[in-house]
């Protein structure tokens, strides 16, 4: 094992970090790893990789990771229902769908993620969360933190500081949870508020909760301190050395196949296409000339694509041929503003070049695109 020089990093004084060379040959019982990457897709891919490839019979794994701003939805959720996609696109905040169940969370560098990997038989969420609480209390005994029966961790009996989700496979399982240290609560609340109306679906809904950062309670805390405390507790409970192995999720030799997993998590088919079937039933209020038109819109979206599309326009507002072309184009295409914009602007090329018509068309289409 290669020991890195620790002289410059006081906060590393009680932890030994080893490079990847001995990743696989650590002591039995348990392994603690931390990602160097802040890319949500890469880190989720590491979870997939460990879940699919590692033999957890001999050693369980604790994976520590943090992400740059991202919204992470659960496996069976509807992103339109859960967050403000327009705001995400504007602010360049990534959207990821994880493979575990549960609700939507906002990640940034002020949030730490913990994943507990075990065999399917040893899957036990309550124990893991109790470990976290024990670690927190060891660090700051005065913290009022406890685990609820919904697998949340509450601060002062009212503020949620951690949410949980899990994934079970044939032989292995993982339970991951967040921990709010110093996240941007303002951005969190604005991105997790969906502006989309009229959505009806059986997707798993999120349960909104009041949140608080641990640092608000105790400003002397840092993410590193929390990570270390949890690693220490895990090491103690698994009777292993208290050292954290650092891994790079882009390392294909260490984690063969990881880049494919990372790519898959970023595809539209996964992020949006895995949304359970839902319907949109709303009314567009189009201000045109001196009046406001009420246009009822009904759409069924399956696998992220528009299956059925009905737009209730006043008669002759658009030439019937053009209207049916619009509906035909939208049917089967992605429920996505980019794709819809391309389609509707293309249709404009092939219809009569009439300014009035063009402005009506643009108005209608822009309103439709706002639904996505």
């Amino acid at each position: 094992m290669v020991l890195q020089s620790l002289k410059n990093c006081l906060w590393l004084s009680c932890i030994l970090r080893t490079p990847k060379a001995c990743f696989w040959s650590t002591a039995s019982g348990g392994l603690i790893i931390q990602s160097v990457s802040n890319d949500v897709y890469q880190n989720l891919a590491v979870e997939d990789w460990i879940h699919d490839h590692m033999d957890l019979e001999k050693q369980q794994v604790l994976f520590l990771w943090r992400n740059s701003p991202a919204v992470v939805i659960g496996r069976h959720q509807n992103p339109w229902q859960e967050c403000n996609l327009r705001l995400l696109r504007q602010k360049n905040i990534k959207l990821a769908r994880r493979r575990s169940g549960g609700g939507t969370v906002y990640h940034d560098l002020g949030n730490i993620n913990l994943t507990f990997f075990t065999t399917r038989k040893k899957y036990e969420r309550m124990e893991n969360l109790k470990l976290v609480v024990k670690a927190l209390k060891a660090l700051r005994p005065q913290l009022d933190v406890h685990v609820t029966d919904r697998y949340d961790i509450l601060l002062d009996r009212q503020y949620k500081i951690s949410g949980t989700a899990a994934k079970l496979g044939r032989t292995s399982a993982y339970h991951h949870c967040t921990l709010l240290c110093n996240a941007d609560k303002f951005v969190l609340s604005s991105v997790l508020k969906s502006p989309y109306k009229g959505l009806k679906s059986n997707a798993t809904p999120s349960v909104p909760a009041s949140v608080k950062n641990l640092f608000e309670e105790d400003p002397s805390l840092t993410s590193e301190m929390l990570l270390d405390a949890i690693a220490k507790e895990y090491a103690m409970q698994h009777q292993i050395d208290h050292h954290i192995t650092v891994i790079n999720p882009a390392d294909e030799t260490l984690l063969p196949g990881i880049s494919n997993k990372t790519k898959e998590l970023q595809t539209w088919e996964w992020v949006y296409g895995k949304t359970p079937k839902f319907s949109v039933s709303t009314c567009l209020n189009i201000a045109y000339k001196d009046s406001v038109l009420d246009v009822k819109v009904n759409m069924d979206v399956k696998h992220g694509r528009i299956e059925v599309c009905n737009i209730d326009l006043p008669e002759q507002w658009l030439p019937p041929g053009l209207y049916s072309e619009l509906v035909k184009s939208l049917t089967g295409s992605k429920f996505c503003p980019n794709e819809t914009t391309t389609l509707v602007t293309t249709l404009l090329r092939v219809c009569p070049q009439d300014d009035e018509l063009h402005s009506r068309w643009s108005l209608l289409c822009e309103n439709m695109i706002m639904l996505m």
Binding site: E339, R349, P352, Q353, E366, I369
Partner: protein, 476 residues
């Protein structure tokens, strides 16, 4: 919430257990193939009810969220069958058997119960699960015959894989001539042997006279070579290509292309190509690039091409026009909204720079930067993508010299720019010099534009670019 742990019975109940008493037990040992009594008319396997196994933590019910298979699909052991969710945990249920899915007991969003059947799988008859099931076809060769076979006192050598292949096909190794080292029988030899059979595998009859073909080492005088020697002939087996055709509906960007191009077909195109010497422009851009960077803008060649085109359109406005559907009227557009073809991950899009006629080269560069970053992020708006009057396609950034671009209706002209190549050319004094040459390919609507107009426009555009200083005279 029910926390009582359910002891799930993971034993398999066979449907057939009700019916086996119909058969005489002794008959089981002699029969060739057991066909078990089943309600389904189609197949011959055994239906097994695959139950939802224990999730852990005392969970008794889950919600079915996604099926990975449907009725009629074949599955292998460990293939994923469905995804269920229970209290923030997503569980992948995998198959325990190889077989065919015959029934799904739940629909999406139904509640499924631990210990109750999830799917019915029909297991392959030949891979019987229960020992009682006897599927016996024509009796295979006994093992002993395959371990040491002797032909005229010589042992035949063959690897276990080859022996198995022979056994599966009811071939006596003694009948096969080995072409390997020491007359070892190879896989090819077995396949050769099979190829020579009529196709049906006949059960070997112990009494039949089998005259094995002569081995290589034996010489038969006077007999013609091709009969005496068995030369291994490579069997032309069809190459097993596992690829399958894949049909998908045309959607999204492709659909948009189909619409545009189908409309473009109606336009009678003519082409006009030329070569431009960009040596001076290359130098000019090198000088201006750092200045633009100071202002936070990336300066490519496109802003020059676009501005020069606009200057040309001022002289030849018919190229910036639009023909109505009935070809009755031509509308000369006042604004030069020059479209720039962009290749994005999803496909081709053509945003346009508005009112180039009143923009400086720098203004155009700024706007191009904006459109490019929006385009790659997939966030272009409808106004960016509509209103174009003339288009340039810089295919040369990817490659190519001459092209045959397709006009984007309702426009009447388009230009495709090839890559800039360093080529030898002659100057005025007859000397060879290094020139930066780019090819341009114009297409125009022959209904309202004639060759001469296109050629003159191209010459003007070319002159602005070959001698950038001349642009200064005409810049508005």
């Amino acid at each position: 919430v029910c926390t009582h742990r359910v002891r799930s019975c993971s034993s398999i109940r066979f449907i057939k257990s009700k019916y086996v008493c119909v058969f005489d037990k002794s008959a089981l040992k002699f029969s060739h193939q057991q066909r078990l009594f089943r309600t389904s008319a189609v197949s011959c396997g055994q239906i097994v009810q695959f139950k939802l196994s224990d999730i852990g933590e005392g969970i008794t019910e889950v919600t079915v969220k996604e099926w990975y298979i449907k009725e009629g699909d074949s599955v292998s052991q460990f293939d994923s069958i469905c995804e269920v969710q229970s209290d923030k945990a997503s569980v992948t249920i995998t198959s325990r058997y190889d077989g065919i899915i015959r029934k799904l007991h739940y629909s999406i969003d139904d509640i499924a119960f631990v210990g109750k059947p999830l799917v019915d799988i029909e297991i392959d008859a030949s891979k019987g699960v229960a020992p009682e099931e006897d599927v016996v076809e024509t009796p295979p060769m006994s093992h002993e015959e395959h371990t040491h076979q002797e032909i005229k006192g010589h042992k035949t050598l063959a690897t276990p894989a080859v022996r198995r292949l022979a056994m599966e096909n009811n071939i006596k190794l003694s009948e096969v001539v080995g072409t390997g080292k020491d007359n070892r029988i190879l896989k090819e030899d077995i396949l050769n042997y099979l190829a020579k059979q009529t196709g049906a595998i006949l059960p070997p009859s112990p009494k039949a006279e089998i005259v094995p073909p002569l081995r290589k080492t034996e010489t038969v005088p006077a007999a013609p070579k091709d009969k005496a020697r068995k030369i291994p002939v490579p069997v032309s087996r069809p190459i097993a290509f596992a690829g399958k055709d894949r049909t998908e509906p045309v959607t999204g960007f492709q659909k948009a292309m189909v619409k545009t191009m189908s409309a473009a077909l109606k336009i009678p195109h003519f082409g006009y190509c030329d070569e431009i010497d960009l040596t001076q422009l290359v130098q000019l851009r090198e000088e201006l690039k750092p200045l633009a960077e100071l202002r936070g803008v990336k300066l490519s060649f496109m802003p020059f091409f676009i501005k020069a085109a606009s200057l040309g359109l001022l002289q030849y406005p018919v190229l910036n026009a639009s023909l109505d559907e009935n070809c009755q009227n031509v509308t000369y557009k006042a604004s030069h909204n020059i479209g720039v073809a962009m290749d994005t991950e999803q496909g081709l899009i053509v945003p346009n720079v508005k009112n180039v006629q009143v923009c400086s080269v720098f203004d155009i560069a700024v706007e191009l930067n904006r459109l490019q970053s929006l385009g790659s992020a997939g966030q272009l708006g409808t106004s960016d993508l509509t209103g174009g009057t003339f288009t340039l396609s810089n295919i040369g950034t990817i490659g190519g010299t001459y092209a045959k671009p397709v006009i984007l209706p309702p426009e009447v002209a388009i230009g495709a720019l090839g890559k800039i190549q360093v080529l030898p050319r002659f100057n005025g004094k007859g000397e060879v010099f290094k020139a930066q040459i780019m090819n341009v390919s114009w297409s125009a609507d022959h209904r309202i534009i004639d060759g001469a107009t296109m050629a003159r426009f191209s010459n003007l555009w070319k002159s602005y670019l070959e001698n950038p200083a001349s642009m200064l005279l005409d810049l508005k």
